[in-house]
Symmetry: C2
Subunit: 282 residues, 2 copies
Amino acid sequence: MCSPLCLEALYGRASRRDFVKKSLMAATAVACGARAASGAAVATPAAQQPRTFTTVLDLTHALYEGFPTFDGSKWFTMEKKFTFAKDKLNINTWTVVEHIGTHMDAPFHFTADGHSVDEIPITDFVVPLAVVDISQRAQDNPDTALTPDDIKRWEATNGPLPEGCCVMMNSGWHRILASPKFSGRDDAGRNHTPGFHAETAHLLLTERNVKGIGVDTLSLDPGLKGVGGAFPVHYEWLGSGRWGVENVANLDALPAKGATLVLGGPKVRGGTGGPSRVIALV
Amino acid sequence: MCSPLCLEALYGRASRRDFVKKSLMAATAVACGARAASGAAVATPAAQQPRTFTTVLDLTHALYEGFPTFDGSKWFTMEKKFTFAKDKLNINTWTVVEHIGTHMDAPFHFTADGHSVDEIPITDFVVPLAVVDISQRAQDNPDTALTPDDIKRWEATNGPLPEGCCVMMNSGWHRILASPKFSGRDDAGRNHTPGFHAETAHLLLTERNVKGIGVDTLSLDPGLKGVGGAFPVHYEWLGSGRWGVENVANLDALPAKGATLVLGGPKVRGGTGGPSRVIALV
């Protein structure tokens, strides 16, 4: 017997330079047939199937000093190094804490030795996009989460999640970047922002073939789940070797199904994530 | 009369927040008809035409401390801010001088008030790709340049440059990142690396419709043209409102014609350029 969960366990133990274990995992998946391949880390290369687009959309917020962060810290600064007035060219120096702006999370962000941003295959960054809209519910309840029922409702309308896709939560938060509601920090320092329910991450890991998940909020986890370091979705999702993307913009411009996501993540050796250009091809 | 050059002059004077002038330029281009539109800053939105791909290629070198720079300075450093061993998650802090690694140049890099990275329309970042291979000549002469004749030779084989494309120089330098030959710095501090000839940039500006140019070397200009701040291609090309991309990787994997470039540039407010994820869809 070989379930997606056993592959998961293998993958979770594989160090990012341990090619022997990874090869073993891949071989095991092939030996175990289609069910394993559709449910776990060894995915159909979706980008190898012909994809067509006519429209390009930017899903990226501009980054600036003071961009909201999970704990209110200043995680991006910029200084002028050369100026046109003085030097006849402009160059700036940035200081960047990796998880700022519209940015990705690599497995290494929440693992001892998972893939860093530079180690993720480029085919995992160009994938079908499924947008799950919970914005109406979230408007009244910032502590809501994207549940397994939301996935099932999406599939009832749109058919099964595309193989190797990214599941993106549209909570409406991308519309309110400038508002204090974006971080939703209360007097006790807890954030009130929507995210993925832990059960949803588990469903997508074990019963679907999904490359990444994305949110238009500060965290893959609902804000309240990040307090005290619980982060159940971060630990399980990134721990499985998959990526996430946060603070995504412009989601109302997307169809629920049919777009292709291009995650232009940074290629920094050993990076745990970082500001990304997120593009949709529709 | 309205030539591409007159549009160019208008565009060159337009400040990046001077929407009146830009609107005037666009209106002028429309009034002047197809020739102006195909030759200058107001381009056909190439990404609006259906494009199909089956393969995804990464054209990005991984970035690391010590990545070669134009003058040998260290322009990227990374420090651990949180570690899994101590904090149960990993986050790094980067210090980035914008023009490091595989990176883009925005018009603002070599102008007083041109577009910064965040102000370039996303449709300009997803464009047809024309790869001009001068690697055989460059192997014997690192001071060679991509000339107008190289463009005409490419067109004789492949047909006219695609509307709104990126013209990419393959000098073979992407194969030798780890070699001292990559910067080609001599004892007098001059770099010996291939780039675009100034006459080629001028041809592409005035007689073709090209969104961006790219190189697999440290500079759009040949190394020797950068000494003392001459940079003729940087000044004319970026001065016209177009972008460039440098230190591009993996060019031998590309066809001369038919790929689509996705320039995943940083979206930093006021940024002059920066590390980018450069992807080809083939």
